[in-house]
Assembly symmetry: C2
Amino acid sequence: MARTTDGSGIPVPQRLLAAATRLFAERGYDRTSVQEIVEAAGVTKGALYHYFGSKDDLLHEVYARVLRLQQERLDAFADADAPVERRLRDAAADVVVTTIDNLDDASIFFRSMHHLSPEKDKQVRAERRRYHERFRALVEEGQREGVFSTATPADLVVDYHFGSVHHLSTWYRPDGPLTPQQVADHLADLLLRALRP
Amino acid sequence: MARTTDGSGIPVPQRLLAAATRLFAERGYDRTSVQEIVEAAGVTKGALYHYFGSKDDLLHEVYARVLRLQQERLDAFADADAPVERRLRDAAADVVVTTIDNLDDASIFFRSMHHLSPEKDKQVRAERRRYHERFRALVEEGQREGVFSTATPADLVVDYHFGSVHHLSTWYRPDGPLTPQQVADHLADLLLRALRP
DNA sequence: AGCTCCATACCGACCGGTTAGTCTGCCGAG
DNA sequence: CTCGGCAGACTAACCGGTCGGTATGGAGCT
């Protein structure tokens, strides 16, 4: 067992990351002190600065984890063997579901980007761009095939949809009337309906 | 002349508000010190605390200004004498244009809500809710008349559209290829296309 | 016209409190 | 004996907000 765990069996770095995620989402990055993070994780500052270089590093880790997950899932849906309208719909719905499943991550993502150091900000933006472009490629593919309207530039269509995803952390409440899957279906529907030729 | 102005002729309170708006949008509320604000406005702390009760007050003023403007414009469009699809379209496009025209306000609005004191937060949420409901009423009206699809709950439609408005401050750049009006037309188009029965 | 008086507008040194990050050293495992 | 893993006291830098003081212009009286 050793010193990397307490009674819970979860290693210290992960406990710190989990505590930071929750607190960043709750109070925001600046309003969360490292003291609060280490207390929530049941350790002290020594432990935090043993594993992470700075408070900023912690935030970056949250971003890296989210981006990795979303990119993997998007790639899987985009590479599937199905008509493009089906692949886009599945991808659009999936990002809604996974975003709702990780609403804390989403709040942090969209509210705290500007707290990253310039280099980390650059790195995150680059990865987001890759994600955006993969998604856009799906729209463009459908437009070339004639199954999607070309009235709106693909870039704008992607931003339109991700605006709504972004917005989820503002209004979605787990105790509301709609399940994550229902919301996802509706939002994917709206996207596909807007794209009808 | 007197002491309420410097060479620019703009009164001190407005200079403070303008400086705060720019800085809050640039670096975020917490990363902006009152010292920086007063320096940008060309005064000292004494002046700031003479006109405003707290730093928080300054933020609240920004919100109040934005909310008032948007609500007035929405009411004007919603009350117009025209078919509902036209009124919704105009309102949807207008909020995009005015948001782009005040991108700083928009960044602050969506990124710094949680920095407001509980009471002010409550007040802002209440006004936003009124705005949301006015917009939703337009969608519902069209749905009742049969000119809009009822496949998606009106609430979700409104959140879908405002997600994209919210998102503008993330990606829109004045030096990009699209004018504010062009973006507005496209986004309003997407909304109306998604609502076709 | 001149003088007094006071409200308004603003200055800037100062205070209590908080923060991210550092550093020394202990402890248990191998 | 050594070394990763961590504890926790410490520091230097700020930060929001306060407060006594100063300058200015106009109202009221004579």
